[in-house]
Symmetry: C2
Subunit: 262 residues, 2 copies
């Protein structure tokens, strides 16, 4: 469940509240936690509100931790910088004492290479989610370019990053709109979890993602944001959000049953 | 001047202040603004303090805007995401009404391609600073890989991004430790500004950067952070910071004179 909470898109009656972003998130989380394995706040939406946005994010994380202890929390931040800076970003998202946040995972851009990624491994048990082949059209500009070795750039990213740590610390982002690449990706990293955004508003098909991307234990974290959280704008929006979440959860359940995982 | 302000590295007497990060920045800016063309806060250092860090950043930006109106302000954030998300990041750093910040430029990671970069162009007069060949060892993992066309990945990034906008909206990051690549880069983008970090703590040579990277109008924004701002830790630290800034400014002045630009 992506929490891309946008003041311009949430039900207007919430704008009267003290902290509309947190209020919206609270309703969405309460309505859907039962059908979700993870929540993924998108940092841009919080940052664009300045310190208040960071406060809403912190309240959201605390609310989920207190009420839904089994839920996995991903900071969708796409960070990555030289070593001493990545270390600070790692603390931001993983070290509660730093910024009051204790995410389980953070999304990272691999462009700056090994020393921009490994500082995030300093926090035991936390996950790194590295961009590989993203759902947007721009993925074709650089990720899909072919190297002289015959590999794609995103292929080199996957294979190289996989050599830096174990499968219980690292996932890759593969867009739901890239189902045809999932077959190859599963040959390179059969056991890694894949975080798959782009189902819903971006047009990716859950059935295709499952067909080509699932491994024996599922190995997929499929994300949907806008298609669920903005399902309705009335004061009863949470009921509609819940229905949308159930729809996707049931579709996933069918696919897991078909694959013999459930 | 990089403002990588770290509570663990600033002079300890400042820790007693209400907002030590802002106090440190204020002293550094007052001591060096006369010798600098730009200030570049590194977002990781502010984020890692949560909402308080964002407040210190906002105070710093406001302080510089009010007292040093000619100074150029760069948010070193290395952002980049799908279109609707990059639009939010652009607002964060460029639109004062959003997060209380009005930077002139923001650093961007190109990994996600065109639709992750162009939303930042929606703000007239603002600059995009795209990572090309960075100063850290990890630059060799992906940026320096060769494509089947014979181009390097960072070469394709430079040439492709240069086709999206004009030279008065776009710079590239090229690390000071990559002086030998500057000759080639200047053939591809003779007129673009280059933001060059890595002089000082990371070991890059200003003389080599100037030799290979300057164009007829200079075309370089050379950044130093740690080597200047942590020059001293006594209550008189600002005087030492000023001396360090003057040293680098004078070295730059000599190089500009040698090249016939001053």
């Amino acid at each position: 469940m992506g929490l891309d909470t946008d003041l311009e898109k949430i039900p207007p009656h919430l704008l009267e509240k003290d902290d509309p972003v947190f209020e919206f998130n609270r309703y969405v989380v309460e309505a859907t936690a039962e059908f979700a394995v993870a929540f993924k706040p998108n940092l841009a939406f919080y940052e664009s509100l300045g310190p208040d946005g960071w406060r809403s994010l912190r309240k959201t994380v605390k609310f989920i931790r207190r009420n839904y202890p089994g839920i996995f929390l991903i900071a969708d931040a796409k960070r990555g910088d030289i070593g001493n800076t990545s270390e600070k970003y790692a603390r931001t998202f993983f070290d509660y004492k730093a910024a009051g946040l204790d995410f389980d995972a953070v999304t990272l851009s691999p462009y700056m290479g090994q020393d921009s990624v490994v500082p995030f491994l300093a926090f035991p048990g936390k996950w790194l989610v590295v961009l590989a082949l993203t759902s947007n059209p721009g993925a074709n500009d650089f990720q899909n370019a072919r190297l002289e070795t015959g590999e794609y750039v995103f292929e080199k990213v996957i294979k190289t990053c996989a050599s830096w740590t174990t499968t219980d610390r690292l996932m890759f982002v593969v867009g739901a709109t890239r189902a045809n690449s999932l077959v190859k990706i599963r040959q390179w990293v059969p056991d890694h979890f894949l975080l798959v955004p782009g189902v819903g508003a971006q047009g990716g098909s859950l059935a295709e993602v499952a067909e080509y991307g699932m491994n024996r234990e599922c190995g997929l974290l499929v994300n949907s944001s806008r298609a669920i959280i903005y399902a309705d704008h009335s004061p009863d929006f949470a009921a509609f959000v819940r229905v949308k979440a159930i729809e996707i959860q049931q579709e996933m359940e069918k696919l897991l049953t078909k694959k013999g995982i459930l």
